[in-house]
Structures are given as C-alpha cells and as structure tokens.
Amino acid sequence: MFYELVSQLSDSTLYQSLPAFGVELVLCATIVIMLLCRIFSLTEKIDASYIAFIGVIVALIVLSPMKPWDVSEALDGIEIASPVRVPLGDLPSVEIFTGMLVYDGFAVMIKTILLVFLILFFAFVKITKITRTEENTDFFTLVLGATLGMCIMASANHMLTIFMGIEMASVPSYVMVAFMRGKKKSSEAALKYAIFGAGAAGVMLYGISLLSGMLNSAHIPTMAANLADIMSNSPDSSQLFVLGLGAMMLMVGLAFKLSAVPFHFWCPDVFEGATAEVNAFLSIASKAAALALLVRVAIGFSVLPTPTETPVAVAESPAVIEAPADEAELDANRFFLVSDEQTADDIADANVEVEAHGEEAVANSEELADPLSQVRYFMAMLIGFIAIITCTFGNLAAYAQTNIKRLLAYSTIAHAGYMMMAVPAAIALSAESPELAQAAVGGLAIYIAIYVFMNLGAFAVVAFVRDTSGSEEISDYAGMIGRSKIIAVCFTLILVSLVGLPPLAGFIGKFAIFASLAQGYSVTGQLYLLVLLIVGGLNSAISLYYYLRIVKVMTIDPEADDTAPMQRPLGMLQNSYLLLMTVPVALLIVDWEFLNVWVTGALAHLLVP
C-alpha cells in the first residue's frame, strides 16, 4: 500500500512533472552554475553573462513542446513513453506536481516570449555595459531568478504557486532597481518599489486566504467547481461579500504587478530611478507574466474543470466565476440583499422570503443553469473598469512629463490598460463561444509579442542617448535628426508604433485586441465590451499627442545652446541593435500570419478540451 503510493507519486513526478518543468529546472541550474563559478573564482575568466546566455538558449530548446507523459500510463507504472515532439496545437493541458502547475500551450507560448525577450535583453545589457564584469554574476542571477518566478506565474494553477510566482518575480526586481549603487535616486526608487510591492503582496495573500478558505481548496479548478456549487445554491449575502472581498484583494496583487491604476504609483518613480535596461525588463517581462497570470486566474475561475464533474449539466458553457463580489453586490445580490433585508425587518415573513427565492429561481432559471454567469459578469466588469481607468490615466498623465523614462513609464501603464481589455472580452466569450475566447487571448498574446520589440527599442534608444549625452530629459532630444539620423528614424517608428498607427506593428496588436472586443460585443451583446472598445479607440487618439511631441522635439525643434551634446556617435553595435528592434516593428505588417498561426495553435486547448 505505502509502497504503491510512493511509487505512484515518484512516477508521476519523475516521468510526468519534471519533463514538463524543464525550463524552470534549466534556469535554476544556470543560476547555480553562475554562483558556483564565482565561488571558485572562475568569473574572472568566464563572463557570467555568457553562462546566462547559454542557459537561456538551453531553456528554449528544452521548452519546445515535448509530449508530456500520459497520466494513466504513468500511474500504471509500466509504460514510459519516450519524449516525442508534438506540434504546439496538439499539446494537451496537463496538470503537474499534483495540480500545482499546469503545462499547456499557453504556458509554453508565454515562456517562449519571455525567453526570447531575455536573449534580446542580454544583448542589450552587453552593449550598454550597464554592469561591470565582476558584477555580472549578481545581475544575471537576479534576472534569471525573476524570470523563473515569471515562468511559474505563467503556469500557475494553484493559489500557492500564484503567490510564490509573484513573489519570486518581485523580490529580485526590487534588487535590480537598486542595482546602481551610489545613485541616490535608484535607492529611493527601490525603497518605494519594495514597500509597495510587499504591501500589495500582503493584501493579496489575505485575499487568497479568504478565497481559498471559502471555497475549501486552493487548487483553481476545484475552487471553480466549489464556487459553482455555492453560486447555484443561492448563497447568502455574507458569503458573496467575503468572496467578493477576497477576489478584490487578489486583484490588488495582480494590479500591482500590472501597474494598473490605482496601484500604479510605484511605476513612474521606479522607472525614473532605475536604469533604462531594468525598466525594459520590468515593463516587458514582468508585464507579460502578470497578464498571463491574469488570464490564468480569469479563465480558471470561469471554466469548470471537466464536464463530468459538474453537478448540473452546465459543463457545456464554461462559466466564469472569478469575481463574485461586485457583481454579487450589483446584480446577483440585488435579489439576495433584498431578501436579507426582509428577514431582518420582519422575521415572521419567512414564507415571503421563500416565495421570493422561488420567484427568483423562476426568473433566473436561465442564470441558474450557468451558476458562474454572475461571477463572470462581476469579473469582466472589475477587470474592464480597471482597464479603462488605467488606460485613460496613463495617457493623460504622460502629457506633462519632461523626463523620457517617466513618459515611457506612463506609456507602459497605458499599454497595460490596452492589454487588460482583452481579458473581459475573453471572459464574456468563454461561455458562449470558447473558440472566440481563445482568439481574444490570442490577440493579447500577439500584442505582448509585438510589445517586446517596441518597448525594448524605446528603452534601447533611451539607454544609448544616456550613454552618449548623459541626459534623460526630453528637451535634450532636440535636434536629434541632425545629430544621429538612425536614432531619430528608429525612435520615430517605434513611437508611432506605440500609438498603434498602421502600417507599423503596434497596429496589429491593437487591432487584434479591438477586434476581439468588437466580436465579443456582437456575440454576447454585453454593453461594457462596446464601452471598452470606444475608450480604447479614444485613448489611442489621446496618446498620439504625447508620442508625437517627442518626434517633434527630435525633428523640428532646433538644437538649443543648453541641449546636452552627444559626446560621440553611436557605435556599430548600438546602431545594429536599434535596427534589429525597429525592422520587425516596421515590417511585421507585411506578413504576420505566422504569428497568428503560432498563437492560435498554442491556445487551441486553453478552453476547448
């Protein structure tokens, strides 16, 4: 008995979980190797950045999808399939480590984006020489450690791994912000970041404790099933209140990672204090992982695990569950709250209450068939509302900025808002048409992939200008066209792409997200999707102004006497790096079908089994 238990556990760990956990293992091994090299004083001979680079390449190779061991086979303990490479689209969704993590196409896709970003990022750091050679071990250990956390965020399937992933990604980031020792601003930025981050994590943990306690599980699919049970058994208002409170507190932690309003305060300060390289890491990798986690939580709570387990015949329409609170207060609870008041006012009228419940049951019979619909509505409203204010606030606040890094920080906030807009669309669509919901998440993924190049290019310009002129003020970009044509041209293209104007790549991303919003509206008829679409469009128009202001400064404004001079022209490496970032941004419109195919394949089994 005991022997069987252990052998089953070890079989499922060794043959199923660990192979699917390869990327994280490789990243861990790389960190250990780097640290060992320093212990044995090898870092003087071997630059740690090369070890990190090789580690990421190996991780990419390991990542390419292997057939995870079939659970039933592994449990029988005899058959052990050999790893077979399967196309991304055929990758089933497999829970590993007893449900702690999930290995599926979505996780593979986000990890691929993260690792490709890391390779470009290493090249960036190498060119700008932000770290001295002896510091490389520290810096790259932190980068890889944070990436490890992000990989866990991307495949989280359990409240514990959500929290662990966020913390593992955050804690190294705090240190990276403080990495420029002796620079006063960076120590201040790091202090603010660490305190905000720790506070948000604490609130999120409390929310997780409420949610998992109420739902008697910390495993997201089980929580979803239990939530469906609660929602179909006419929950009382206190239950809904606690669930809603927990969901909102969980959202605090996610919003902090996304730098979504009202938890964005750290973002401009941290971006101004930290170096442009670290900013690039925070604004791309950290954001991609946070969005992946948001999608995981939103989809996880909206979809019941397997049709057979569902008590009612609801399984067909994966209901959305996540955010019971608001909607509970708004809509679902309209009824329950009323009945509560009744009980309080005149207890004698218990019969009335019963009647009321009965009426409601009749009135909401359709709703009851899908116990998670209220949750879905609440969740979509909550995320949609945050997306709207994030996007609008980011764009409006970017107007007044004089420091290029602060401006890009607000631009990052605004883009987080655009990207979050895809999530309500996916949630709303998940019940009616899982395929379209997958397409909505696919739009988000395309946006993230393009965003890698746009933002990396923008921060590369900032770093290169800082290296040659020592300034990060927008006014010192005056007359850039006469001083460095390549910076002026590349930066202009990247900024216009950030606005989202065709024919640049940013347009593809925005189009994908707005298209899914429009589709969501036409299929489900939910008005908030239309509102999101309109707000997104208006915001793109607003953002035109401040992005093009930089272009105007670079091209039209004459070089003033006090403009910081560029000490030397950009080197060969800098120029080619800028081109490497700009060319995809400029030319992706020619043929981006491959991106679409890749994303569609990766997401093929996110909702549809």
Partner: protein, 116 residues
C-alpha cells in the same frame, strides 16, 4: 443590550474566532503600513498582514472546525509564507540600508526626490 453580547462572545471557540484574530492582525498591519513613516515600522506592518493571512490559512485548514476544510493546502501555504516573508524582509532591509547610506535617514517621507 443584545448588541453588547454578539454570538461570537458566547459561542464556543470556533472558526470565526480565529478569523477575527486574523482580521484584527490584518487591519493592525494595514493601519501600521499606512501611518508609520519609518521604513522599519512599515515592514513590521507587512509582517502583521502576512501573519493575519497565515492565521486564516491555518484556521481554514483545521479539521476540528469544519467538515469541509482547506486541509493540508492551508498548512503548506502558511509554511511557505513564513519562508517568503523572511526572504522579503531580508531584501527590504538591505534596500532600506542602501537608502540609509544615501540619505542618512529611513523616513519614507524624505523619499521625495522622485515626484509622481
């Protein structure tokens, strides 16, 4: 005077009492984070919040209070959180020290060189 003796004061100790302690710790920690100007005070507030959540986890996991409970998940999460809190505190203290080296203070109100 019924409101003076709510159920929670008369019934035997159960889940709600533990949750009340957890909520008290959480609120104390949140107030501490919001009002303290000293970095160390804020970090202590964060520890209180984390421990409030831990009490919730352990209470929800206990088989003596509820038939359906969080089970081992709750205990494990509490253990992980204790470890993580230590790691986070170590990093935050190092950052505070770095800040002190530059500003000769750990008052967060003095951290106003960067304006948001």
């Amino acid at each position: 005077m019924e409101w003076l003796t709510p159920d929670i004061l008369t019934e035997p100790v159960g889940l709600s009492h533990f949750l009340a302690v957890g909520a008290f710790l959480f609120v104390t920690g949140a107030v501490c984070m919001a009002t303290k100007r000293n970095t160390l005070g804020i970090l202590m507030g964060i520890e209180l919040v984390l421990n409030g959540a831990n009490i919730n986890f352990v209470a929800f996991a206990s088989p003596y209070f509820r038939e359906d409970n969080l089970g081992l998940d709750g205990h494990l999460m509490a253990l992980f959180v204790i470890v993580l809190a230590a790691a986070e505190a170590a990093v935050a203290l190092a950052i505070a020290l770095n800040y002190y080296n530059n500003y000769a203070t750990i008052d967060v109100d003095k951290a106003n060189e960067l304006k948001g």
